[in-house]
């Protein structure tokens, strides 16, 4: 049966179709839906781990116990998991193990651009890169076969435009369960292969290098790499999504389409070189193929034509290819007749007041940056921090948007958990600028525990605010140890962040309702001014997740004097109409925070009893 699947869904399906029973991951855009998709197939077990390193360690355990397993993460997640990755590169695997990693060229939802193919070189592991949903599923199967054939973990690299693009593929009509229940599995003990103490590790390093040589040999004929004959004038080398763009721009060229992107073959490049007059490499981010080709002594162009930074597109590849003389410019389409306007302003009134006003161009349009959602309980905390002129150290999550206009309430954003460590350093040197760190609940369990205990242990003085909405919201509401349920919906104890802080040695620990404006002011001021280390847990469930919605408040035009206070909380439904504000009922969640900040009581709640609607 033909189904339309996103790249991520296809990768999840591909794992199931390869007989994989176990998947582990940590959510991160653009990778999240891989594990979510996998978890829907019969007889599989999927878990959200507390971070990517834990996920990879768990997947390693499954593999050591003889079963196929995979784990999922975004590119920066692999940095977290890298310690374990390099270790299992040496020990090797028993059951096939695939690490699926989604890169984000163009940084649609990320703090940096990384090319995960580099991890193949660095950790000395094979890397496979699919180019559409069909390959997403097929290459997953190939990755497990490769992993077991050479006893190595395999990285499967995706990018945003693969992960979040949909294309049709043939899927199984009948879905049979992978496991019917939990059987007892015998563990084969093999310390000489699973303990990389120096006496073993020195041998393992030689084995790893030999495996790479063997896999590069296999790469010549493995079917993941293919020569697509075309014109002898031009040979294009490309993989993944860049191949698709190149196919659009160079329809007649000869292609070497790479699916195994590390280690790379040799003979296929020599063959291509014999077939064409000129070789051009089209690769997003780093010049990895290009350097390999040059080392083979073959002449090739690449980054002299195409950019190193950012995401590719058809028009970018075409523009650069035209500039380099590789293809002729596209014939510009022309509008054949005068445009027709239906139900619009008539053409005569088209210029507004008729004045030769500057014609509008798209680049001059007002931008629409992302901001905290209507009803987001992080907003009240950031609003008060802004009012207190606090110096706020943050990291990655929805709450990064506390840095956005008009709140401007966050001053640094580091990697997951970084804000707490950075704050301790800032406080250590004596900055007395109302310093605090903010961290979300999922990030707290991911990377907040170690830096928090570090503050208590080292007699720090810092205040850490945990913005606890009981869910991993940014990536689409995945449960975490604070949510009270697992990925599969099984109930599990909710971890108390307050108890964790007390166990670490914090004695000043408070819990807040973010919507209680006076209480938030009082408690935050008290904690910030206190000389002892402290933790504030601001707890309110994510309203997008709980679908909490009340009727929107209304504005009393008699009372509104357009002071602008409500506009400064940065809530999209509050619309500036020039002489008054208006609240968009469709967008508003009815949280009534604007009601509590309005100094003239001009915003009137629609809630009659002040409680549930």
């Amino acid at each position: 049966m033909k189904k339309l699947l996103s790249g991520n869904e296809a990768i999840g399906y591909g794992a199931y179709a390869a007989g994989v029973g176990y998947g582990v991951g940590y959510p991160g855009t653009p990778s999240t839906e891989i594990l979510q998709s996998f978890s829907t197939y019969p007889g599989v077990h999927a878990e959200w781990a507390t971070n990517e390193k834990v996920a990879l360690d768990v997947a390693t355990g499954i593999s050591y116990a003889g079963e196929r397993s995979f784990c999922t993460m975004k590119h920066v997640g692999l940095n977290v998991a890298a310690d374990s990755l390099f270790s299992i590169a040496f020990t090797g695997v028993r059951g096939g193990l695939v690490v699926t990693v989604a890169d984000d060229p163009g940084m649609h939802s990320s703090q940096n651009e990384q090319d995960t193919r580099n991890y193949g070189k660095f950790a000395k592991l094979p890397v496979i890169e699919p180019g559409d949903s069909v390959e997403g599923a097929e290459f997953m199967g190939a990755a497990f076969d490769l992993s077991e054939q050479f006893k190595v973990p395999v990285i499967l690299r995706a990018v945003t435009r693969l992960s979040h693009s949909r294309s049709p593929l043939e899927v199984l009509d009948e879905l049979k369960p992978i496991h019917s229940g939990h059987e007892t599995v015998k563990y084969e003990r093999d310390p000489s292969q699973q303990i990389p103490l120096p006496m073993n590790a020195r041998r393992m390093h030689r084995e790893v290098e030999q495996k790479l040589v063997d896999i590069a040999e296999w790469a010549e004929t493995c079917g993941l790499n293919r020569l697509e004959p075309g014109s002898s004038k031009l040979g294009i080398v490309a993989s993944g999504i860049a191949y698709q763009y190149a196919r659009e721009v160079f329809p007649d060229a000869t292609f070497l389409k790479l699916g195994l992107v590390h280690p790379l073959p040799r003979e296929l490049f020599f063959k291509l070189n014999d077939m064409v007059e000129r070789i051009v490499v089209v690769e997003e981010l780093d010049p990895i193929f290009e350097h390999h080709i040059r080392l083979l002594g073959i002449k090739a162009s690449g980054k002299d034509i195409f950019p190193l930074c950012g995401e590719f597109s058809i028009e970018l590849v075409r523009e650069r290819a035209v500039a380099a003389g590789l293809v002729p410019p596209r014939e510009a389409a022309v509008r054949s007749a005068a445009p027709i306007v239906i139900n619009g302003l008539d053409a005569a009134s088209g210029n507004g007041d008729g004045d030769a006003a500057e014609a509008l161009v798209p680049s001059a349009l007002p931008p629409r940056p992302p901001m905290l959602c209507p009803g987001c309980a992080h907003r009240p905390i950031f609003y008060v921090l802004q009012r207190l002129r606090a110096l706020v150290f943050g990291d990655i999550g929805c709450y990064t948007l506390g840095a956005a206009e008009p709140l401007n309430a966050t001053h640094t954003c580091g990697a997951m958990g970084a804000g707490i460590g950075v704050l301790h350093g800032v406080d250590m040197v004596g900055v007395k600028d109302r310093t605090v760190a903010v961290i979300g609940d999922s990030t707290f369990f991911h990377s907040g525990l170690s830096p928090l205990v570090n503050i208590a242990y080292n007699k720090g003085v810092s205040t850490v605010i945990v913005l606890d909405n009981r869910i991993t919201a940014m990536t689409g509401h995945q449960p975490n140890p604070g949510s009270g349920r697992t990925m599969e919906g099984v109930e599990t104890p909710e971890v108390s962040i307050e108890d964790v802080a007390r166990a670490f040695g914090f004695t000043k620990v408070d819990t807040l309702d973010p919507y209680d404006l006076e209480e938030v002011r009082r408690v935050l001021k008290d904690h910030i001014d206190s000389p002892e280390p402290s933790v504030v847990v601001a707890r309110y469930p994510c309203v997008l997740n709980t679908k909490e919605k009340y009727a929107a408040p209304s504005v009393d035009l008699e009372l509104c004097n357009m002071c602008g206070t409500c506009l400064n909380i940065g809530c999209a439904p509050i619309i500036n109409r020039g002489d008054h504000v208006e609240i968009d009922h469709l967008l508003c969640s009815g949280c009534d925070y604007c009601v509590s900040v309005c100094p003239r009581d001009a915003i009137v709640s629609a809630r009659t009893d002040g409680g549930e609607e």
């Binding site: 389409a333 054949s336 007002p366």
Partner: protein
């Protein structure tokens, strides 16, 4: 297949239903016998920011993202976001735009101005061969749910494409929850009956 390729961009604001509308468009293309790919961006972009879906129908589609300046149909759920994507339209292409404004943060903060309708029309006419304004959100409100605006716009689009209404309605029936099917059929019908 009537044409070798047809590219669509659907542009709006997070929460307006561009994803459902593009899912419908994808399935209609598949049922009409095209190879189809679709691309969209999730995550940070959804938090009140602009959202866009790109859908491509063709005999063989490689890239899931469209080429700037080659798009056949721009379907705008919000005026400003429609204007933002106009450079993707091929000269002479079709624009269907919802007459609906959601002011972005800089406008609310008073640091930028929302362009007036004439300015937006002029900008769209720098490329459009046919520009159709639709009061889709108004019609959707009449039907009782502003979220139906996307299906009203699809109804409008359908009257430009050579594909039977039954095929569209069949896909809509399959993709929307059962209790909303009648409303969505009605929204689609209202869209097809506008103009012309």
């Amino acid at each position: 297949m009537a044409q070798d390729k047809i590219d669509f961009v659907l542009a709006g604001v997070g929460g307006q239903g561009t994803i459902l509308a593009s899912d419908i468009l994808v399935d209609v293309g598949l049922e009409a016998g095209y190879d189809v790919k679709k691309s969209e961006v999730h995550g940070m972009a959804q938090r009140g920011g602009g959202v866009e879906s790109q859908v491509r129908w063709g005999s063989r589609v490689y890239s899931a993202t469209v080429e700037k300046g080659e798009v056949d149909y721009l379907i705008g759920f919000e005026m400003l976001e429609t204007a933002r994507w106009i450079e993707y339209l091929k000269p002479g292409g079709d624009v269907v735009v919802n007459r609906y404004r959601i002011p972005p943060p800089p406008v609310n903060m008073g640091t930028a101005r929302y362009p007036d309708e004439a300015e937006i029309q002029n900008l769209l006419l720098t490329r459009a061969g046919r520009l159709e304004w639709v009061d889709a959100t108004g019609i959707a409100r009449e039907l009782g749910n502003p979220a139906l605006a996307g299906v009203v716009l699809l109804g409008r689009l359908a009257s430009h494409l050579d594909i039977a209404d039954e095929l569209w309605l069949g896909v809509i029936e399959r993709l929307v929850p059962a209790r909303f099917v009648d409303l969505n059929r009605e929204a689609f019908r209202r869209g097809t009956e506008l103009g012309d």
